[in-house]
């Protein structure tokens, strides 16, 4: 063993000068979100859709907020949605939460191999899907299940994916929650972080190439913004002015790693400016603000003005996944200290304030959805359980590696089937 060091490896070293970022809290400590400046509700101005990136600097460092703590909507970003739309949004969020809770419990009971919740982040996917056209192509991560609820995917289908049973449209190939739904223009979710973001830009480039006006919309987590694919996405989206919306869902954590290891000490939105992308930071727990910002970005892209970069500020209330326990790396009460509240409670208060909703309606809707999910689960199980099946026929394991089965796979399939 030789050494590259100028001083011998065995010398005592002077104190390290390497800076290492810190976390909003660690177990036993008190959560500190003080570095998070939260501007006034309604304060952010709303630029025209032909805005230059450089003129969105304040929006990228600020925070678009519409709903205040009393449930009132303020400012130019208020999308002024009608009560039916608002109630639909609330229902979608409650549906997602009911679904998550049920699936989480089923995993704990050993019915699923794995599961991931989006608790506290429901407004992101639901409000954004509602602000888009169904023909717009979605490139999500594993935390945007809400997109499918808005576009009306049967809950049973999602459960069958999580069960990898005979009813799983992707043939039991993937881990639970790595959905794919072509009919809903919902892209196949990859286990490899961030790869979908730069693919979404290519999809959008093709849309422009063909003179079509459908958009691509991609999501990526705060931690995953560090991956090269996000850089590639921003650069290509800007270079070719692709009709795409690039969303960063900043839920403060990447498993045990705080956002400070990916943020470079800035807002994530601010990174978009350096790529000449109009960039906006929005309160991700504010259904109305998320809806309005998404609509604005979609209008830009459809009008041929190119891509936008959006940071959705939210908080991952639940564990990263069923394989994770946050008590090992963050203070137990961090979620309660999150200053931007809960997206469902906030929209509910707004509707109640408008006189369009009541505690009673809310409770009965929750019950209705809970029992709907229970029934869906029962039905899903009729297509098979994960352990006992029925599953897809074993030989289908060799399908779809290629469009047509090549000789060597046919040979391997014969081998396997002769054994079992």
């Amino acid at each position: 063993m030789t050494t590259n060091a100028r001083k011998s490896a065995k010398d005592e070293l002077p104190k390290s000068r390497l800076f290492v970022p810190s976390a909003s809290s660690r177990p036993g400590g008190t959560p500190d979100f003080s570095d998070l400046q939260i501007p006034e509700v309604g304060a952010a101005d709303k630029p025209p859709i032909d805005v230059e990136a450089c003129d969105t600097a304040s929006l990228s460092e600020g925070l678009v907020r519409v709903l205040d703590d009393q449930g009132l909507a303020h400012g130019p970003w208020n999308p002024s949605l009608d009560p039916q739309t608002l109630r639909a949004g609330l229902k979608h969020m409650l549906h997602v939460r009911a679904f998550d809770d049920r699936m989480f419990r089923m995993q704990r009971q050993g019915k699923l191999s794995f599961y991931m919740k989006c608790t506290g982040e429901e407004a992101v996917a639901t409000a954004q899907a509602m602000a888009l056209r169904n023909s717009d192509m979605l490139f999500p991560t594993y935390r945007q299940q809400g997109l499918m609820f808005v576009r009306g995917r049967p809950v049973v289908d999602m459960m069958c994916q999580c069960l990898s049973n005979a009813g799983d449209t992707i043939k039991g190939r993937q881990l639970p929650v790595l959905y794919s739904w072509k009919d809903g223009n919902f892209f196949t979710i990859s286990g490899n972080l961030a790869t979908q973001v730069s693919q979404a830009v290519g999809w959008a480039m093709a849309s422009a190439y063909k003179g079509e006006d459908d958009l691509a919309v991609a999501w990526v987590g705060d931690g995953s913004t560090a991956e090269a694919d996000v850089h590639n996405a921003m650069l290509f989206a800007s270079t070719y002015r692709a009709p795409v919306i690039l969303n960063v869902v900043n839920n403060q954590w990447a498993i045990s790693t705080p956002a400070s290891f990916a943020s470079a000490g800035m807002t994530f939105a601010a990174r978009g400016l350096g790529y000449n992308l109009p960039s906006i930071r929005v309160d991700g727990n504010d259904f109305l603000a998320v809806y309005a910002v998404t609509q604005w970005a979609a209008d830009r892209a459809r009008a041929g003005m190119g891509a936008s970069f959006v940071e959705l500020l939210t908080y991952r209330v639940a564990a990263h996944s069923t394989s994770d326990n946050p008590d090992g790396y963050r203070a137990k009460d961090e979620a309660e200290r999150w200053p931007l509240g809960d997206p469902i409670e906030r929209l509910k208060d707004h509707l109640i304030h408008l006189g369009e909703w009541s505690e009673e309606q809310h409770t009965s809707l929750q019950e209705e959805l809970a029992s709907a999910v229970t029934n869906d689960w029962k039905e899903a199980l009729t297509h098979g359980s994960f352990e006992e099946g029925p599953h897809w026929p074993l030989e289908t394991m060799f399908d779809d590696v290629f469009k047509d089965l090549p000789d060597h796979l046919r040979h391997q399939r014969t081998l396997l089937m002769s054994e079992s």
Binding site: I170, K182, S190, T195, S198, W203, N232, L235, F402, D407
Partner: protein, 338 residues
């Protein structure tokens, strides 16, 4: 019919496909206005416009990712990697995404992307302009891997690759772009115009993938190779005096194993030849398959002649290159086993 060198044949294939299908485009570094550093896309920018002969930023990972998205949205992108040596920044998008899309989505999504990559040495390019990474791609399930050895095959195989609905990694042995190479640098360079495979139809035609070609029959030894080494092997066989059967694999995956097995069962001997480094190269797979399928017919060990397990050198290029001597030696060793 015209005489074409390999770059012209490749350009002709691209032109045919772009003319027939508005969804086909070429993209990559310097492929647009300039027509590519090896001129393979020359003229396409003028003929089809900037969006169909698309210059890109220098980010191989970004290029392949964009091509995947385009493929999913109905286009048929033909990506050029300026050199195969520079394909690795795109490796995650190729191995984890492009190759797996169809399977992981239960057949819902797929991207008909072709990635063209000039490969191989013999051009004084040093270690970052000479590599032959084909073996790695044959280990990634979901990819097809092709390497032509002449203009006629190059055009026909490339058209098949572009129209194929699976992703294809299409390696182009740059040493033989302008003429076949018989392994000795000193010899005066020969041109494709003196070679039958330099006769290429101007019109559309296909050479099916997975169709190995017996270049000339023989009884004593079967030689398996592809790309530049096909021509070196030809010269070596002539020099060796061994009656060898030379097979140009053309497509490494899926592999035309039947043609190989039939031949080895006849000759009972086999030499595997490639420019890529030896250890865990594609030659290992060929040896493994041959000995497993033909064990009872083998009269001699299946020998590999391959690049040494070092980075491709600059000054010792011709000592490094699998020479005719090394091949004839292997042929004679094999033939001498009775």
């Amino acid at each position: 019919m015209s005489t074409m060198n390999m770059t012209q044949a490749i350009r002709s294939a691209l032109d045919c496909c772009m003319e027939r299908d508005p969804m086909v485009l070429v993209m990559g570094e310097d492929v647009g206005y300039f027509g590519g550093v090896f001129r393979c896309t020359e003229g396409l920018y003028e003929k089809y416009g900037a969006h169909r002969a698309l210059d890109t930023p220098i980010s191989e990972g970004g290029i392949v990712a964009a091509a995947i998205g385009m493929g999913v949205n109905g286009l048929r992108p033909v990506v050029e990697m300026q050199f195969a040596d520079y394909i690795y920044p795109a490796f995650d998008q190729i191995a984890s995404e492009l190759a797996k899309l169809r399977h992981r989505s239960g057949g819902e999504y797929w991207a008909p992307v072709v990635i063209r990559a000039p490969c191989g040495g013999g051009i004084r390019g040093g270690q970052t302009h000479s590599q032959s990474p084909e073996g790695i791609f044959t280990h990634v399930c979901g990819l097809k891997t092709v390497m032509p050895s002449n203009p006629y095959d190059a055009k026909g195989l490339l058209i098949s690759a572009i129209e194929d609905d699976d992703p294809v990694i299409f390696f182009e042995p740059k040493r033989i772009y302008n003429g076949p190479f018989f392994g000795h640098e000193e010899e005066s360079a020969s041109s494709w115009s003196d070679h039958p495979a330099g006769e290429v139809p101007d019109t559309y035609y296909r050479v099916p993938l997975q169709s190995a070609k017996i270049l000339h029959p023989g009884t004593e030894v079967t030689v398996l190779t592809y790309g530049t080494m096909v021509h070196v092997a030809e010269a070596a066989i002539r020099a060796s005096g061994v009656d060898a059967e030379l097979i140009d694999l053309r497509c490494l995956l899926p592999l035309d194993l039947d043609t190989i097995v039939t031949s080895v069962e006849k000759t009972g001997r086999c030499v595997v030849l490639h420019e890529a480094t030896r250890t865990s190269g594609y030659g290992a797979e060929l040896v493994a398959e041959v000995q497993e399928a033909c064990f009872w017919h083998l009269k001699a060990p299946v020998e590999r002649v391959a690049g040494f397990d070092t980075p491709y050198p600059h000054v010792f290029e011709w000592e490094y290159f699998p020479t005719r001597n090394r091949i004839t030696g292997a042929l004679q060793r094999a033939a001498s086993c009775r």
